[in-house]
Symmetry: C2
Subunit: 252 residues, 2 copies
């Protein structure tokens, strides 16, 4: 399932040429920061769709930055009920939450094949000690994650089914757009209606019916894994509004 990438440096992307660096939505690093990150990085990880990268209740020795692919962060109750907290896209950082209790309170599962950048958690301290700007970025990242959860909590707590669906779909589309995974207002979503249902706190059946209602509005289309925004204003209106994300944002 999980395969460590070929250790030969030739196969690994050097941080200086990291594809994410080209993203205009992500902040630039100084040479000094870049040198540190290059030394901090311990390798790359290739994971197949379906792999559990981090498991609720366990400690992980690693932190990851997503280079490519999609994942979900989710929590499972003892009786099996499941809630997706958020989706994970390229440039997102995962594993930080394990710092709080020493173990993860949620799982992270790959939705598609992924490539991740691996950092050893035990050297996190060096980052804080030597690179306050990166330390600040980590706080920023944790805080952004909190904001997304807050927005999701409002959805699940106070919005009806149609608003919720419109909101997440638009939200995911905009996030994908930021890392240039869209073209012609289309993205390929590697997840199913069941995932959407688990993210929205709804049943599969009701998700399907509501999705059908959304399609009927002609604001968007979702067929064969491809999501297309047909009328961005209409979709934003159905969603109520939409979060903005500051650009450029840090990513480590």
């Amino acid at each position: 399932m999980v395969t460590a990438a070929c250790p030969s440096p030739a196969r690994q992307v050097p941080c200086g040429k990291c594809p994410l660096r080209a993203e205009p939505s992500l902040r630039d690093f100084s040479q000094d920061e870049l040198d540190f990150i290059a030394g901090f990085k311990s390798g790359e990880l290739t994971a197949e769709a379906g792999t559990t990268l981090l498991m609720q209740g366990t400690a992980s020795a690693h932190l990851y930055t997503v280079l490519s692919g999609w994942a979900v962060r989710h929590k499972t109750l003892p009786d099996g009920r499941r809630q997706i907290l958020n989706f994970v896209l390229p440039a997102d950082f995962i594993g930080l939450q394990g710092t709080v209790l020493g173990e993860m309170q949620h799982s992270v599962e790959a939705l598609s094949d992924m490539v991740l950048c691996v950092f050893p958690r035990e050297r996190l301290w060096e980052l804080y000690r030597g690179h306050p700007s990166l330390a600040f970025d980590l706080t920023w990242i944790a805080s952004r994650e909190e904001q997304m959860l807050g927005e999701q909590l409002v959805s699940v707590g106070r919005r009806n089914a149609l608003e919720r669906i419109a909101f997440v779909l638009l939200h995911l589309f905009l996030r994908a757009e930021q890392v240039r995974m869209t073209s012609e207002n289309k993205v390929e979503f590697p997840f199913t209606q069941q995932h959407l249902a688990d993210a929205l706190g709804m049943s599969l059946v009701h998700t399907n019916k509501t999705l059908r209602r959304l399609m009927a509005s002609k604001a968007a289309r979702w067929k064969n894994r491809t999501f297309e925004v047909l009328d961005r204003e209409a979709l934003t209106a159905l969603a109520g509004y939409q979060m903005k994300d500051r650009q450029p944002r840090p990513f480590i």
Copy 2:
């Protein structure tokens, strides 16, 4: 509503004698950290119940640590629907989220009279540059906040009304216990059923009915603002389980 405390140092608690320092659930500071914090602190703020300390959509020049009193962090939709994200207790840090977009994405409102420690946001950078241990604490705090939101999201998304109510009430009780606001398994909650409803994503009427069912189970009692845990195991069982919090935890 908001009154800056008397600027005379005699009226302000010196950080070395901060009442929170005595809490065994909070981590100890080194003398060096303490000196920095004492210099970082710009004053104290006394706020009456009902005061809006931070307002969704605005930037705040200050960060706060709660010395005493209760507050809520909440978001309001354009049409007035409201969702409480979390409750704020002594030793909690607020305002950090404003870093992400430059402005707060939620409001913070005092539920009781409060005393807060004030820090100037513009000097936050000095903390990161000179005190990595405190920088780490801030990331930790942001991450803990995220965890609490995640837990709440599971509640609202996947638990039924009775479980939700049992979960928050027990959760708040345990948090209060950690900062010694309880005695004989009782706490004084300064909020109403409407607050609970807004936190749980439920209507007031349904909250009331469910609360009544919870009381009927004899696991807990809530009358005249006083909440009492009668059977902790039973309450934990109704809640499904309960989050743990690492002790000692940082607080700044």
